[in-house]
C-alpha cells in the first residue's frame, strides 16, 4: 500500500496543476478565517466574532465553509484521474506490472492521504483562529463540537471519491469536471426537492455532505444564543457520508476492472 502511495506521489508532487490548486485551497482555508475580523462585537449574543469563530462554535462554522473548498480538491482528483486516461498511463502502468486493483488502491490511498492532510490543516488553522477570537472563558472548550472535524474528514474523503468516480467514468477532464459540477448543483437539488422530497432526498450524496453532516448553524446564532449550535453531526449523516465514499470508490474499482483500457 505504501508502495502504491509512493507511486502516486511521484506522479502528483511535480504536477504543476496540483501545486496551484493546492495553493488556492490553502489560501481559501486561511482567508475565510479573516471574516471573523469584521463581525465585530465582543458580546456573547448574535453574530459576533467570538460566537462564530470562538471555541467551540468555530468547528461548526469553519467546517461549513471549508467543505466548499473540498470541491477544489475533488476537481484536482478528477484531473489526476483523467490524466491517466489522457496520457494513456493507466494502461502503461498496468502493462508495466500493476494490477487493475492496485491502480485503484493507489488512487484511494492518495485520497485518504489528502483527506488527512486537509483535516490536519483544518485543525491547526482552526486552533489558531479559535485562540485569537475566543472569549477567555471559552478557551477550555477548544475541542468542544469536534465531531465536526471528523465530519469534515469524511466529507473530504467523500468529495474526492466522487471526483475519482466521475473521472474514471468519463475519462476526459473537461467532460468529467462539467458533469461533476452539474451533479453538485442542479441535479442533486432536483433529486432532493423534485423527485424524493420527503426525507430520502436529504440523503442524496451532495445534500448529505453539505447539509446533513455540517448543518447551517446560523439560525441558532441569530436567535441570540437562545438555541445552542448543534454539538455534533448526527451519527446517521456520518454513516451515510462514509457509505457514499465507499460506494464511489467501489464503482470506480468496478469500472476499472471491467473496462478495456
Amino acid at each position: 500500500m505504501i508502495r502504491l502511495l509512493k507511486i502516486e506521489l511521484l506522479k502528483l508532487v511535480p504536477y504543476r496543476t496540483f501545486k496551484i490548486l493546492f495553493a488556492i485551497y490553502l489560501l481559501l482555508m486561511t482567508l475565510v478565517l479573516l471574516v471573523g475580523k469584521n463581525l465585530g462585537g465582543s458580546g456573547d449574543e448574535g453574530l459576533t466574532s467570538a460566537n462564530v469563530l470562538g471555541f467551540p462554535n468555530i468547528w461548526n462554522y469553519y467546517t461549513l465553509y471549508a467543505c466548499y473548498f473540498n470541491i477544489i480538491l475533488a476537481i484536482l482528483v478528477i484531473f489526476v484521474t483523467c490524466n491517466e486516461f489522457t496520457y494513456r498511463t493507466l494502461r502503461q502502468n498496468i502493462i508495466d506490472g500493476l494490477t487493475r486493483q492496485e491502480t485503484v488502491i493507489g488512487k484511494i490511498t492518495l485520497i485518504v492521504l489528502l483527506s488527512i492532510i486537509t483535516t490536519v490543516i483544518l485543525i491547526i488553522s482552526g486552533l489558531v483562529a479559535g485562540n485569537i477570537y475566543s472569549l477567555p472563558e471559552d478557551r477550555d472548550q477548544m475541542f468542544g463540537h469536534s465531531g465536526f472535524i471528523f465530519a469534515y474528514f469524511i466529507q473530504s474523503l467523500g468529495m474526492m471519491s466522487m471526483g475519482y468516480f466521475f473521472g474514471t467514468l468519463f475519462k476526459r477532464t473537461g467532460l468529467a469536471v462539467i458533469i461533476f459540477l452539474i451533479f453538485l448543483f442542479p441535479i442533486d437539488v432536483i433529486l432532493r426537492e423534485g423527485i424524493f422530497p420527503d426525507g430520502f432526498g436529504d440523503y442524496m450524496p451532495v445534500a448529505t455532505y453539505f447539509l446533513k453532516m455540517v448543518p447551517f448553524p446560523l439560525d441558532h446564532t441569530m436567535s441570540g444564543g437562545l438555541e445552542p449550535t448543534p454539538a455534533a453531526p448526527t451519527a446517521l449523516s456520518l454513516v451515510v457520508g462514509a457509505a457514499y465514499a465507499v460506494i464511489f470508490c467501489g464503482l470506480g474499482w468496478w469500472i476499472t476492472k471491467k473496462r478495456d483500457l
Binding site: 494513456r88 508495466d96 506490472g97 478495456d260
Partner: protein
C-alpha cells in the same frame, strides 16, 4: 519469492533449450459483430525473435493488449512462462505498445522512477538504461519536450528496466526517420544477442525478415501461417509456364525432376518446385518434345508476395 522463481527459470533454461515463453490457445476478442482476434494459437520459444506480421487492423495490437492484461479476451487463454495469465508475469516483460506513454510533465528520469517503483526495481539502474538509449544528458527535461524518436527511445529504456526476460514491441519503428529505424533495429539485434526473447509486431515484411527468427502471419485476427522465417519467407519457389496447349505440357512435365506439384490456374500452369529444379533445363526438355513455351516466369518467394498483398492494405 520472486528471486526464487527467477533462479528456477534460469536453472531450467540451461537444461532445456526449448522453453515456451508464451503460448495462446484459441485466443479471441470480439467487439460486437467484429472479430478482432479470432482464435489465435501462438507459441513463442525462449530466445526467439518472434515476429507477428499483419496489415494494420489485423488484430496485432488487440492480441498484444490481451497478452498484457489491458484488454479482456472474449474467450480463449494465454500463458506467460507456463505461469498462466497472472499479473506478476508482466514484471518480467518489457513492453512498448503502440506509441510510448509517459507523464509529459515529468522528466524522463522521473517517468522511469514511476516505472521502477511499479516493477519493484532499484532506482540505481535508471541511469544505465538511459545511457543504453543515449538519453542520459536529457534525463532532466520534461518528456513533453522530447522528439518522437527520443520518446521512442525513452520507451525502450523503460522496457529495459528490471532486466526483463521478454521484450514485447508493437510497431517500434512507426513514425521514425530512417536513422531512428536503424537504431531501433540495432537495439533489437543487441537485445536478442543478450539472450532476451523478443516479440515484435509489425506490418513491415522487410523489418520482420531482417530481424526475426520466427514469424506468424495474421489477417483479420486469424493465423495464416507460422514458422521460422527461413522456412516461410525463403521457402518456396514457383514457376509459371504457359504454351498453346497446356494439357500436353502438364502431361509432359510429369517426369521432370524437381517438380513437386503442378496445376493449371486460368491459362497458366503454376508449378511448385524444389531446389533441384532448373528452368533452363525445363525449357530445353520441353522444346525437345516440340513444345514451345509462350511464357516462363520464375517467382521466387510466393509467401513474400502473399505478405506484400497482406501488408499493402
Amino acid at each position: 519469492m520472486i528471486a526464487d522463481s527467477v533462479e528456477l527459470f534460469t536453472f531450467t533454461s540451461n537444461h532445456y533449450n526449448l522453453e515456451t515463453v508464451l503460448s495462446t490457445t484459441a485466443l479471441k476478442k470480439q467487439y460486437g459483430p467484429i472479430k478482432a482476434v479470432n482464435g489465435l494459437d501462438l507459441r513463442v520459444e525462449k530466445g526467439a525473435v518472434y515476429g507477428i506480421l499483419g496489415p494494420n487492423g489485423s488484430g496485432k495490437t488487440t492480441t498484444l493488449g490481451m497478452l498484457l492484461g489491458i484488454i479482456q479476451p472474449t474467450s480463449g487463454a494465454y500463458s506467460w512462462f507456463n505461469n498462466g495469465s497472472l499479473d506478476i508475469n508482466r514484471k518480467r516483460i518489457g513492453s512498448l505498445l503502440e506509441q510510448p506513454n509517459f507523464y509529459p510533465y515529468l522528466s524522463g528520469e522521473q517517468n522511469l522512477k514511476v516505472v521502477a517503483k511499479i516493477k519493484g526495481v532499484d532506482e540505481g539502474t535508471i541511469d544505465a538504461v538511459l545511457a543504453s538509449v543515449n538519453l542520459l544528458e536529457r534525463k532532466k527535461s520534461p518528456a513533453r519536450t522530447y522528439s518522437l524518436g527520443m520518446r521512442q527511445r525513452l520507451a525502450l529504456a523503460s522496457a529495459l528496466l528490471g532486466n526483463p526476460d521478454v521484450l514485447l514491441l508493437d510497431e517500434p519503428t512507426n513514425g521514425l526517420d530512417p536513422q531512428g529505424i536503424a537504431e531501433v533495429r540495432e537495439f533489437i539485434t543487441q537485445q536478442s544477442a543478450q539472450g532476451r526473447t523478443i516479440i515484435l509486431a509489425s506490418h513491415i515484411l522487410d523489418e520482420v525478415e531482417k530481424v526475426c527468427t520466427h514469424v506468424s502471419v495474421i489477417k483479420k485476427g486469424t493465423l495464416l501461417a507460422e514458422g521460422s522465417v527461413a522456412d516461410l519467407i525463403k521457402g518456396e519457389t514457383q514457376v509459371e509456364i504457359a504454351a498453346d496447349n497446356n494439357e500436353i505440357v502438364l502431361q509432359a512435365i510429369q517426369s521432370f525432376t524437381g517438380i513437386k506439384k503442378a496445376a493449371q490456374e486460368n491459362s497458366i500452369i503454376v508449378i511448385n518446385v524444389d531446389e533441384k529444379f532448373n528452368a533452363a533445363q525445363l525449357n530445353k526438355y520441353l522444346s525437345e518434345k516440340n513444345i514451345y513455351l509462350q511464357h516462363l516466369n520464375v517467382r521466387k518467394k510466393r509467401l513474400e508476395e502473399q505478405f506484400l498483398e497482406l501488408t499493402a492494405e
